[in-house]
Symmetry: C2
Subunit: 164 residues, 2 copies
């Protein structure tokens, strides 16, 4: 018996999504991609994830068209980096919804640190998952910055889909 | 080594959320709860989920305060039903975001069936995860109906948090 069900042809769009993103590490890798992480070693170090788990997840995310691999020239040789596709960037509302729920319904971290999602156009904190209620426009990762209040003077604009 | 990491005290609110809801079955059980499923046998039959998996997930969801157990009087004896808590009902935007992404980025099902989220107040299809862009009000599960276009004449209002 497989460890997981196959929901790729489910009638329900929620179930079909979970086929690609129904895994916590996949969503945390996406979170890293949104704040600009692109290289294998950066994902590994930032997430504290085991090599075999990270390799498998990144391969599946490329296979599922959430990330794409792109070569870059390192000091010694050419490496690969992982960039958000359009489908990957469109998962911003899923992360936004999870973050908003966690901020409301889980105990705050002992260090008191918190993040605000800022609409770049107006500079206001987002009050909805994917819509600026002030400007009355949709919010995508191209329009949003995450302000890590304990770390950054300025909010960090999120990464968005990279062209080929 | 545990099968999963413990993110319950992570700085990141997304990671803390994934501690409770970073599992596909948990999110599909929630989907069922939103359309009115409350009994063990209904969850099992509607989801095609194995008994041991369902029992473990329901227990964890009660433990994590997403569902609460409530007795009801059956024909022969008293049974338990599972009702959404406030924290459970507040996960509506997570399901909404997953559904919207799946509708856009996964192949539609062979049967062509699709669901629309309708704002009960205005009767219009939602264009944002958690905000009615027409009425300019937030959308919660108390304000939304899912219209299963192939099945129902009328949209089904979603369940919301049950009082004690």
């Amino acid at each position: 018996m497989p460890l997981r069900s196959d929901w790729s042809s489910a009638t329900c769009a929620i179930a079909r999504s979970l086929q690609s993103v129904g895994d916590p590490w996949t969503l945390l890798i996406l979170r890293e991609a949104f704040v600009g992480t692109t290289r294998y070693e950066q994902f590994r170090d930032n997430l504290g994830i085991a090599d075999n788990v990270l390799s498998r997840r990144l391969a599946a995310m490329v296979e599922n068209d959430l990330l794409r691999k792109s070569p870059y020239r390192g000091e010694q040789r050419t490496h690969e980096e992982y960039l958000l596709t359009e489908a990957g960037a469109d998962l911003y509302p899923v992360l936004s919804a999870l973050g908003r729920w966690g901020a409301k319904h889980t105990p705050p971290p002992a260090n008191g640190r918190r993040i605000r999602a800022i609409h770049l156009t107006c500079g206001r904190a987002a009050r909805s998952v994917d819509y600026c209620t002030f400007c009355q426009v949709p919010l995508t990762s191209a329009d949003v910055a995450w302000h890590r209040l304990w770390l950054d003077e300025e909010p960090t604009p999120l990464a968005t889909a990279s062209g080929e």
